[in-house]
């Protein structure tokens, strides 16, 4: 289209138009940057304020106008957090539970998704419908029966109590099904003809192809588990098994509001997920979501 119009205009005017378009593009780009800078500033400014507070002692926190640069830094809050509370243990517990759930679900859900997508079995439709319907039921509405169930098996206050219930979430299976359905149809038939077992198809062919989907799933599940609060609050009673969210909430228990300590705990809580996400963000955001949404 641009070529056609250019062919009809004298070269000087065409060049003018091109210059105008470039200028407009640059201006739009600048406007976009300004808008995004403003928005991200609003979203991220609280973190900077909290980061500052984590490096202040009590008198500095209470003072107005507040100090805007973290020099000299006061490390007492971090020292108290890391060495006088169970923070490191809580972090370990959360990472262990979130990591376990994520790893387990990657396999469980991709296998389930494979079955739902590719294997012709009775009851497949019913199972899928059941999963779709119960997809959104929150764990918070099920605390009574879940607690009762875990308690009668004697699993309250064990890692199992933290890891097992989240495995029931059907989001992963549904997501995997969509991804696998999107693969070329004859791929598995060709593989079957080649003599590959069903498991071989799943393991050697399907899994590598849906890697972006697996990344999406991993990020969603990990962040979800990292943040979960009401179930771990109820399911664990001993100090050893406290997860990060419950432990940090319990920091309020010490007499007086220790804003410096809370700020330090906020900063330290965000590091693992921030890193995890930053590393995977390219894959997660760009390709994977677009692929997922095409379904």
């Amino acid at each position: 289209m641009a070529v056609e119009t250019a062919a009809r205009l004298p070269p000087a005017i065409a060049a003018d138009h091109a210059r105008a378009r470039r200028a407009r593009r640059r201006r739009n780009e600048l406007l976009r940057h300004l808008a995004l800078a403003a928005i991200t500033f609003v979203l991220v400014a609280p973190f900077y304020y909290v980061f500052l507070a984590s490096l202040k002692n009590a008198t500095e926190i209470f003072s107005y106008p507040p100090k805007l640069l973290p020099f000299p830094p006061y490390l007492g809050n971090y020292e108290k957090l890391l060495f006088h509370t169970g923070f490191l243990r809580w972090m370990f517990n959360t990472l262990f539970v979130a990591g376990s759930v994520t790893t387990l679900k990657i396999f469980l859900d991709s296998m389930a998704g494979y079955a739902l997508a590719k294997v012709d079995m009775t009851g497949k439709k019913v199972v899928f419908m059941a999963m779709l319907i119960l997809l959104m039921v929150p764990i918070g509405a099920l605390i009574v029966p879940l607690w009762s169930l875990m308690s009668s098996i004697g699993l309250i206050d064990t890692y199992a109590a933290l890891i097992l219930p989240p495995l029931a979430n059907p989001l992963g299976a549904i997501l995997m099904r969509q991804f696998i359905l999107g693969l070329p149809k004859d791929l598995d038939n060709a593989a079957r003809l080649d003599g590959l077992s069903e498991f071989g198809i799943y393991w050697r062919i399907v899994l590598p192809l849906i890697k972006p989907g697996l990344v999406v799933l991993a990020v969603i599940i990990f962040t979800d588990q990292f943040m979960s609060f009401i179930w771990p609050l109820i399911a664990t009673t001993s100090d050893d098994l406290q997860v990060l969210t419950v432990g940090v909430a319990a920091l309020r228990a010490h007499g007086g509001a220790n804003y410096g300590l809370w700020s330090a705990s906020a900063v330290m809580s965000l590091i693992p997920v921030g890193v995890f996400f930053f590393v995977l963000q390219r894959q997660f955001l760009a390709r994977s979501l677009a692929g997922a949404l095409k379904q």
């Binding site: 209470f62 309250i156 609050l233 109820i234 009673t237 001993s238 319990a250 228990a253 007499g255």
Partner: protein, 444 residues
């Protein structure tokens, strides 16, 4: 100093070796003299190694966050216990006040901890269940009689039913009036301003300066616990009538008393609910932002030392019918599911001896539950205002009512009344709702 200690220590060690004093006396006297527990344990072992039939096991505590050093205080007491019985291990866990009920109940059901610090407010509920061990036989045993006489508050403890479920630790005023006397004097009043509601109101009004201070810090105690209950009882009401057959809430005096509390908020004399939280309020009081603060006594441990003005603990002004001060007792209770009940009984007794109870209460901003607390060291760290205020608080003391749902009703009622303070409903409606809450909770 150390030479004196050495001499005392040597004298005691000789006496112990000669069998003139018991191991327990030896340990306790040295502890009182300030010798550290590990040193004592070493000495004791040298002189007379522990008997084979000594106590052994693991004891898991679930206690409340009374102060910043709560776990350290318990560890200190544990050191003393270990000097006597080195084979016992301890584990301390803190619950949070706002999830205490959940944490205690789920833990008891699971047998997850052995010794619990519980509040009297749940005693009727625990009495009607069987999660906690029945200590009646042990408490009434002749061998405990001498020690039992030194504990306080048995009358209250035994009023809830046949089972004695715990040993009292402390007597706590849940809604004490912290008063900034400098501000009160500057407003032209003295401590008698609490003797009548009118003078209380006027003084608070004068202490309120827009943008810098409020006269009456209400609605700040966690969940308002006990704050309106004092108003209810002071107006001649109660959740249930004496025969427990009907609510006794919706009375004109109660509505009037609630109304005048709500008026404090409407007039801007009390800060809008949510301005200061339980955690932040002691600092605000110390910064002069609140002329009076209604909060439990444990806040004394959160105040800076020294507080930059003269302050006192005073009772609240009288209600239309009587002057009332709500308080509750704290207990150590034992999980019925714990294996070694004898060990738990020994530990519970040890934690509530004169010295240890005094030590704990002294550092937790509350009153001990022992007659011998003062002579055993209570008062060293506790703010002097506490001791000063005790007679007045005792004079007007009122506790909870004996029905299993009292704590549940109290929590819901305070929240409902706070809706009134926030201007969301009238006092009459709020009180009527509390009556409904009582009926629904108790099943009337």
């Amino acid at each position: 100093m150390s030479r004196n200690l050495d001499r005392e220590t040597r004298a005691l060690a000789d006496a112990y070796r000669a069998g003139k004093v018991s191991r327990r006396t030896f340990v306790m006297r040295l502890l009182a003299a300030g010798v550290s527990a590990p040193v004592i344990a070493g000495l004791a072992r040298e002189i007379a190694p522990a008997e084979a039939a000594d106590l052994k096991g693991k004891v898991r505590f679930l206690v409340g966050p009374w102060s910043d050093g709560e776990v350290d205080h318990h560890k200190h007491i544990a050191e003393g216990f270990n000097a006597l019985h080195p084979g016992v291990e301890f584990d301390f866990r803190l619950y949070q006040w706002d999830t205490a009920a959940q944490e205690i109940n789920t833990s008891v059901a699971q047998g997850a901890h052995d010794i619990y610090m519980t509040t009297e407010s749940s005693y009727p509920d625990y009495e009607s269940g069987n999660g906690f061990a029945d200590l009646t036989a042990r408490v009434n045993d002749a061998s405990f009689a001498a020690e039992k006489a030194k504990y306080l508050y048995w009358d209250r403890t035994q009023s809830y039913g046949p089972k004695i479920l715990g040993l009292p630790i402390s007597w706590h005023v849940e809604d004490a009036l912290f008063v900034n006397m400098d501000m009160v004097n500057a407003a032209g009043f003295d401590e008698t301003f609490v003797d009548k509601w009118e003078t209380f109101h006027d003084c608070c009004a004068k202490m309120t300066k827009k943008g810098s201070s409020y006269g009456a810090g209400f609605g700040i105690q966690i969940g308002g616990y006990g704050e309106w209950y004092q108003v209810l009882r002071g107006a001649g009401g109660s959740y249930l009538t004496d025969d427990k057959k009907a609510p006794n809430v919706n009375l004109p005096n109660v509505i009037a008393a609630t109304e005048r509390m709500a008026q404090l908020f409407k007039d801007g004399i009390a800060p809008p609910l949510g301005t200061y939280s339980y955690d932040a309020a002691p600092a605000a009081f110390a910064a002069g932002k609140l002329g009076t603060l209604t909060i439990d006594l444990a806040a004394t441990t959160a105040l800076p030392n020294p507080v930059p003005f003269k302050w006192k603990l005073l009772p609240h002004p009288p209600g239309p019918v009587s002057q009332v001060n709500f308080n509750d007792v704290t207990y150590y209770m034992v999980n019925a599911k714990s294996g070694d009940q004898d060990l738990m009984w020994e530990v519970t007794k040890f934690w509530t001896t004169g010295e240890n109870d005094a030590y704990w209460a002294d550092n937790s901003g509350t009153y001990p539950a022992r007659t011998d607390a003062a002579e055993k060291g209570y008062g060293k760290n506790a703010a002097p205002q506490l001791a000063e205020a005790l007679p007045v608080y005792e004079k007007h003391a009122v506790g909870l009512e004996n029905f299993a749902q009292w704590a549940d009703v109290e929590n819901q009622a305070e929240a409902e009344i706070q809706n009134c303070y926030a201007g969301k409903e009238s006092a009459a409606d709020a009180v009527a709702n509390v009556e409904k809450i009582v009926k629904h909770s108790v099943g009337l």
